[in-house]
């Protein structure tokens, strides 16, 4: 390799050849399919669902992979404040412009090639006009902006994710609006053409900052001997009451505040939609669902970072048991969830009132009240609120057992597996629209639930004896946890049984749902994984 540019290109190809090979295999498959159709003299006729399965889902998955690869998102910490651009590249004898340009050029080229090949080989319906230029420009723009925004250092941990999602969503919205108004291809090109050069300027600035170690928020350390610091040196510190308290403080500072901060950043944008959509009740309801789902959705991103703990160094050498270390993370997840829902709980009524959509919501509540009666409506509201909070907390803690193992590949494989389930959305939506399928699923529901419960209890039956034999948790803690879990499950079952008063849903199904709703196996595995990682 004679030039740095070729070396960088070689690195992308060498590291991610598996993914590129999978994309190539998909194209080979669709090309074969088209050739076979042509050989039979048939034209491609796909309905919406088939098109989603054959084109949209694989194309989206491949594009997301390219975004992750060319922004270095697969090797860096997305939640970190510092630039995601690999520090090892900063020391290469290359100009900052070149450092920004080459990965961006490779990324944009890959995105354009992806679209071009899909456009040529994809099984597009024969009557469909598929534009060539502007989707390629859109793909390049989204990729370039992802690079620029992920390479930027940020003052807050996790802010990178929020800023990138918001900006990409804004570009998407502009394009969707232009399509809605049937904008001509030349207009689309004019709208999208400036994005790559603009993103390059931002990326260059981001790399320049990253290269000189500039992370916003570090300014406070500037005056180690300055007046401000000297003045605050007199500050008295209150000792922690216990080691557990110190650990919880440590965990809160490390990642506990991240979820409330991210939700606080996203909330104003979501709330603004209530003002925009106030004339359309369906969209108001959709927006409210979006707001309510935001904490749990963002918790998934935060959880990955939260489970990374340095157990072979500073944290692992504190004189504290592995169970207490795991407990501190779970405790902070409760604080984090509570703080987030206080924010959402305060913002929702205020925004409904201010946007004038409160009467609409009250009308919906009265409709529910009319059908269910007042006590059940109140119970439903409580159940929904508690369910959303538990869901958020579960999202924060249920993958801890993977992160605590200290195996980076395990966390990445889990994230990849979760993403791959997105592929199932298309088929599931298609199945949900078929009455026969829905009826069959409804008939099989008890067995499906029973299967999941059996899986959960089998996992618990494997984990709990290990917890007992390894002495990670004391007998007392194990018995208390088992008793508490059983009590909560029975309590939830009782609530369900009172609430769902219909002969169509047998009570044992409610019991199975209650068992599945309350976390057990994965949470029990967390201290075990932590201990195994701490004492390798």
């Amino acid at each position: 390799m004679r030039t740095p540019a070729r070396a960088l290109g070689w690195e992308f190809g060498r590291c991610y050849r598996g993914g590129f090979f999978a994309i190539a295999a998909y194209f080979a498959f669709v090309a074969a399919f088209r050739l076979a159709m042509r050989a039979r003299g048939q034209t491609v006729e796909l309905d919406d669902v088939q098109m989603a399965l054959a084109i949209t889902v694989p194309l989206t998955a491949a594009f997301i992979y390219l975004l992750a690869v060319f922004s270095f998102g697969l090797t860096g910490d997305l939640g970190a404040r510092h630039s995601l651009f690999p520090p090892r590249l900063f020391t290469l004898p290359m100009t900052t412009s070149a450092l920004a340009a080459w990965p961006m050029l490779y990324g944009c080229a890959a995105a354009v090639v992806l679209w071009a090949v899909e456009r040529v080989l994809g099984p597009w319906p024969s009557d469909m006009h598929v534009p060539i230029v502007w989707p390629a420009l859109l793909a390049a723009s989204l990729l370039a902006w992802t690079q620029a925004l992920t390479w930027m250092p940020y003052p807050l941990r996790g802010l990178r994710v929020a800023v990138t999602i918001l900006w990409l969503a804004t570009i998407d919205t502009i394009v969707i609006l232009a399509m809605h108004f049937k904008a001509h291809e030349s207009v689309m090109v004019v709208l999208l053409a400036p994005h790559v050069p603009l993103a390059y300027v931002v990326a260059r600035y981001a790399i320049a900052r990253g290269r000189r170690g500039d992370v916003p928020g570090r300014r406070d350390a500037r005056g180690m001997s300055g007046r401000r610091v000297r003045g605050s040196r007199e500050r008295k510190t209150v000792p922690f009451a216990s080691a557990g308290g110190a650990l919880a403080w440590f965990e809160w500072h490390r990642h506990g505040w991240t979820l409330p901060s991210l939700v606080a950043i996203l909330l104003p944008f979501e709330v603004a939609l209530l003002f925009v959509f106030r004339g359309t009740p369906e969209l108001v309801i959709d927006t409210l669902f979006g707001i309510l789902a935001t904490p749990a959705f963002m918790a998934g991103f935060v959880a990955i970072a939260a489970s990374r703990t340095n157990l072979q160094g500073f944290t692992g050498t504190r004189p504290i048991s592995s169970a207490e270390l795991a407990a501190a993370t779970m405790k902070v997840a409760i604080w984090s969830t509570a703080a987030t829902w206080v924010l959402v709980g305060a913002a929702m009524p205020l925004s409904l009132f201010a946007s004038g959509t409160l009467p609409l919501m009250m009308a919906r509540v009265r409709d529910v009240q009319h059908v269910l009666g007042t006590p059940r409506t109140v119970a439903l509201a409580c159940l929904v609120c508690a369910g959303l909070m538990i869901w958020t907390w579960k999202r924060l803690v249920q993958s801890l057992y993977l992160g605590f193992t200290g195996r980076e590949w395990l966390s990445k494989a889990y994230a990849l597996l979760t993403l791959s389930f997105l592929v199932l959305i298309g088929p599931l939506l298609w199945l949900a629209g078929d009455r026969r399928v829905v009826s069959a699923v409804w008939d099989l529901l008890p067995w499906i639930l029973f299967g999941f419960v059996a899986l959960k209890m089998t996992a618990a039956a494997v984990i709990v004896p290990k917890l007992f034999s390894s002495r990670v948790l004391s007998d007392r803690v194990l018995v208390t946890a088992a008793a508490s879990w059983s009590a909560v499950v029975f309590g939830l079952y009782a609530l369900f049984a009172w609430f769902v008063d219909t002969p169509y849903v047998p009570h044992y199904v409610l019991m199975l749902i209650a068992i599945l709703a309350i976390p057990l196996a994965r949470i029990s595995a967390a201290p075990l994984a932590l201990a195994a990682n701490r004492h390798r």
């Binding site: 610091v229 510190t237 922690f240 308290g245 050498t317």
Partner: protein, 245 residues
């Protein structure tokens, strides 16, 4: 029978095909400074990680204060101070926060001593760890490892990042002080002149095996010839060269 602080018997650890430690047996008594020397990759850090319970013995046993550090980490770590080779203190903490945080774990934490050390090490209490120089970070790590006056102090390459003057002054003084108080210091290094300066007892490790372990005076006496006292460097190289690579 010596009052053993660390008692390791037949410890073996493999990483894949590579034997990082091969039937290591070592007893460290109470009081004194024990130098653990070896080339890079000899197994010093692996041995220290076993002492701290960060690695589980594949075969053999490790006892610190008579306890298994994996089964009972709280009992062992509450009496052990540790300064890591890789300075991994949380960068977001300020120095005073680090002291406040560490204090919560050790009942014997001595506030006055901690403050004395902070002043001696010229650490600004409001400075964030990540803004400190490498040497300052090492000092901050040393501060939290010393402030509760641990019975056993484990220093893994303590001189890493310190300039020669500070290295000699700080590490030497600290190690001497602790040894004089009847505490035990185990420190690993590949800088043999540093070990020679402060250690009472030297253990040489090469490719996972202990090649020599004896009091420093005894080593010098047995390896001297024609009235010339060899340096530790010479003895170490001689020991390593006699073993086939």
């Amino acid at each position: 029978m010596i009052d053993a602080v660390i008692d390791i018997a037949g410890l073996t650890r493999r990483f894949g095909d590579q034997a990082a430690l091969d039937s290591v047996s070592l007893t460290i008594g109470r009081g004194g400074v024990y130098g653990l020397v070896g080339t890079n990759g000899a197994g010093k850090t692996t041995l220290i990680k076993h002492i701290l319970g960060l690695l589980r013995a594949e075969s053999g046993s490790v006892r610190v204060f008579g306890r298994d550090p994996v089964a009972d980490p709280v009992a062992v770590l509450s009496r052990t101070g540790y300064l890591s080779e890789e300075n991994d203190l949380p960068g977001w903490m300020r120095v005073d926060e680090l002291m406040r945080y560490s204090r919560a774990f050790y009942p014997s934490w001595d506030d006055a001593y901690a403050e004395e050390l902070r002043t001696a090490f010229a650490l600004d209490s409001r400075a964030r760890i990540r803004t400190l120089s490498k040497g300052q970070k090492a000092r901050a790590g040393l501060l939290v490892a010393l402030a509760y006056r641990p019975e056993l102090l484990v220093l893994d390459e303590p001189s890493s990042g310190l300039d020669p003057v500070v290295r000699r002054d700080i590490v030497g003084a600290v190690i001497r002080t602790i040894a004089e108080e009847g505490r035990t210091v185990l420190f690993s290094s590949h800088l043999l002149d540093e070990v020679e300066q402060v250690a009472d007892h030297v253990t040489m490790i090469d490719r996972g095996r202990i090649v020599l372990s004896a009091p420093l005076g005894e080593i010098r006496a047995t390896h001297g010839a024609a009235g010339r006292v060899p340096s530790l460097d010479e003895i170490f190289i001689a020991q390593v060269r006699t073993k086939p690579r």
